[in-house]
Amino acid sequence: MADFLLEIGLDEIPARMIAGAEAELGRRVNELLTRERLLGSGAKVTTYSTPRRLAVVAEGVAARQADTEEQLTGPSWKVAFKDGAPTPAAEAFAKKAGVAVAALEKVTNAKGEYVGVTVKRPGRAAAELLAAELPKEVLALYWAKNMYWRAGKPERFVRPVRWVVALLDAAVVPVEIAGIAAGNASRGHRILHGQAPVVLESPKGYVEALRKAFVVVDVAQRRELIRNALDKATRTVAGARWREDEPLIETVVHLTEWPTVVLGDFEAEYLALPEEVLVTVMRDHQKYFAVEGADGRLAAHFLAVLNTQVDAAGEEIIRHGNGRVLRARFKDARFFWDFDQKTPLAARVESLKSVTFQKELGSYHWKTEANLAVARALAAKVKAGGVSLDEAALVKAVELAKTDLTTELVKEFTELQGIIGGLYARAQGLGDAVGDAIYAQYTPASTEDAIPKTVEGQLLGLADRIQTITAMFGIGAAPTGSKDPFALRRAANAIVKILAESGLGLALGDVLEASGAEAANKEQVAAFLRERLHFYLKDVRGFAYDVVSAVLAAGADDVRDAIARAGALTEARESADFAAISAAFKRIKNILRQAEEKGFALGSAKDVKLSAEAQQLKDAAAALAPVVAKLRQERAYGEALARIATLRPTVDAFFDKVMVLDPDEKVRGAHLGLIDEVLRGFSGIAEFSEIVTG
């Protein structure tokens, strides 16, 4: 068994693309080796990457495929040999199999006697196979953005390929990728190692050889080095901690080959700026980690992850350089903050007329007016339901929600929309209710994000989003299967999440009604919202798909109610009684459908003598229905479902003994009417026929 190494060296790959490509390369090589029967049992495939390279090491690779044997069967013996002599048929078969006629054997099987031969196929050398197959696999890697660089554009890849290493044990595999012939020389850290090639003697020595050249090829190892270095650097400041930021860790992991950390500082006066602004500058623009004191508040320090190691003098230079840049950005941010405050949010409303929301719909001024109407309608509903809210604050928040789009700070840091508005509102004395609502207007930003904490914030979020959705649908800009450029799905998901997790007592229908959408539009939007509720219940809450279908079939308007029903149904379905009831309801539904197709009418049991079992079902259902209805009203779904399950013996007996489609038209009608009543009487919580039973 041999070891195999493939390393593709390139110009720096965008950090965001590396992890996916590394994994895909590993998969492709693994599949290739498996497909070609080159991976022994207990073989191991490991992937590595740095910004300048993707690599795979496969241990336990066969140097050659095992020889195989193939049984070939030809014409029947009678046709192949006449009087012991081979016929042209035999000769043709022998030729096709690549053997001499003398090698042909008699093969006897169920159909008779045939000519056959066992052909030995020698296994191909791994090196030969790899050389033939690898270029295709590598060039098929998915990249979000490709480029071409060679004359005539023979291939596209993420960046120009600069070197290739392909070793099978100590031997170079003669593969060529993008015009670069494989060798055994890799490259080390540009600065710390320099230009001298890093000659590799074997795949096993890869990690260590690169480490000596100041390249850590193992991503997990780099991640740990960075975390440890962040810890160590922060310890020099008493009581301080660095602020966890997993996405930033991933980014810097993929920006470095030899990571170290330097702790810098900035003037404490900048801490007067809101944390949101400081952290956005540090994280998004500079890729620094923020440092906080024991009290959890930002400290006047930053941590920069470097792609090099330097002595104390170098560290001072780098710390100083980074500090300069950060100071300049903070100065700008402070300038914008001060400059923006000269024009309070209230004085910016008019200027929203020149900020386009959507070219066919209008400006953000138009949107604000539209949002106000929706917010007022929602407020009325919420108040009617007994929820207390500060309506004046809500109106003010909606009026001013978009004004921060005209500020210099938001123009500079667009990701801080809403947040800056909220901060300015508070700073300008508009109060917490207004400030908090504006601040939280774009949350939840995802299904994992929290909803706004205040009623005013929740209503602003609902109004803004439903207005956008209905307006966009109105101009024919509804999302399609593949395109959703205005993020309407995300907006609708947020609406569902807010209704699910707040105490507003609003249903999807309420929100849609408040939007003032026209009738034609309403249907489409309602279907869209229902689909998002389905998504929420299944993909976010994790209910089984059949539970979701069953629950939504009985009602898809009240989100919290749907969740409660789904929860009760999930528990109830575990019982055998319940599974039986579900099966029975499915049966009822099928019979009713068949009856409808055949034109059988539903009748009543009045003038008919029902059999004992039918009568029992009728009585039991009649007795149970009001009980279940009351429990449903009380939202005691678990109890209601348990009661419905008690129908089981009666329903089973009914189907055992009763011929539903009785030849007598009146009896048949009475039976159909009965089961229809049973179905409808107990489908208020969920449509049990949707439940999949084993």
């Binding site: 953005k145 600065i191 792609n307 090099t308 330097v310 300069r324």
Partner: protein, 309 residues
């Protein structure tokens, strides 16, 4: 002892010398208004077509919206780029770039260097590429781009564009907080310095006043429309000439493409001026960029036709 960092003009000398020594043609800055070195004909036109080319030049780049009346230490109406085009890009282009940094006195062993994804695009000239912003100790010092398209045309061969931000680099190396404090030149006898502010502060102030206050919006529109119409007329003439089977190569080459392109560049600068005056709405913006792009793409096609097959 640490060597004295280069003055602004020494920095430019050294960069030019480095690339001249590696076979680049040194050109003068383009003498009409451009927003970036990329828009000068030495880049925009030379990257088109199959002919290899290596050129470097300083390029004062005008961005009216970035003017700050000489009050902001980092932002300028007109900054100076050092623009380099290597067509086709040599295999060791990244290493050459790093050597150029060493040549201007940056000891790479004492700094943190990263290549961070940044894909440049210039919609007004129908150009885009793939590449990086080169970060030195947290500051962007160079835009490094492998062009893929220019003037709406696919490039083959591609080129590497290196655009150094000279004020930034110099302020970084001289360790001053304001660009105006950068030492532009030092008298070899007396040691007296002339700063960036001495040379440029007043014009930054005056340009900002014009760009934000005094520029007459109606006249700017009139100029834009006038230049655009003239360029369109010339392009129509060019297209007819290039399509004429009887026209010789020399006749085609005689067509004043350079002047046509300059008219398009005037339009681009006027767009920037109108923008700085706040005269272009968000919806109008897209349309205007399209108009300029149409001219640029038209010029690119004529250029390729002039170069012949």
């Amino acid at each position: 002892m640490k060597p004295t960092p280069l003055t602004f003009q020494e920095l430019l000398f050294r960069l030019q010398a480095f690339w001249a020594e590696r076979g680049c043609v040194l050109q003068q800055p383009f003498d009409s208004e451009v927003g970036a070195g990329t828009m000068a004909p030495e880049t925009f036109l030379r990257v088109l077509g199959p002919k290899p080319y290596k050129v470097g030049y300083a390029q004062p780049s005008r961005r009216p919206a970035d003017g700050r009346y000489g009050e902001n230490p980092n932002r300028l109406f007109r900054h100076t780029q050092f623009q380099l085009i290597l067509k086709p890009p040599p295999e060791n282009v990244q290493e050459l770039y790093l050597q150029s940094l060493e040549a201007i006195g940056i000891d790479l062993s004492q700094h943190d260097l990263k290549f961070e994804e940044d894909n440049w695009e210039g919609p007004t000239v129908g150009a885009w590429g793939v590449g990086w912003q080169v970060m030195m100790d947290g500051m962007e010092i160079t835009q490094f781009t492998y062009f893929q398209q220019c003037g709406g045309l696919d490039l083959d061969p591609i080129c590497a564009e290196l655009t150094y931000g000279l004020e930034r680099l110099c302020a970084f190396m001289q360790d001053v907080d304001s660009v105006y404090d950068v030492v532009w030149a030092r008298d070899p006898d007396t040691g007296a310095v002339v700063t960036y502010g001495d040379v440029r502060h007043t014009e930054e102030l005056q340009y900002s006043v014009y760009n934000f206050e005094d520029a007459d919006v109606e006249r700017l529109w009139a100029h834009f429309n006038s230049y655009e119409a003239e360029a369109q007329g010339l392009l129509a003439k060019a297209n007819a000439l290039m399509a004429d089977e009887k026209a010789t190569a020399a006749e085609k080459l005689r067509f004043p493409l350079m002047s046509t392109y300059e008219l398009a560049l005037k339009c681009s600068n006027l767009f920037n001026l109108l923008d700085a005056r706040g005269a272009i709405s968000v919806t109008e913006r897209v349309g205007m960029i399209g108009r300029i792009r149409t001219l640029a793409v038209g010029v690119a096609k004529v250029y390729v036709a002039q170069q012949g097959s």
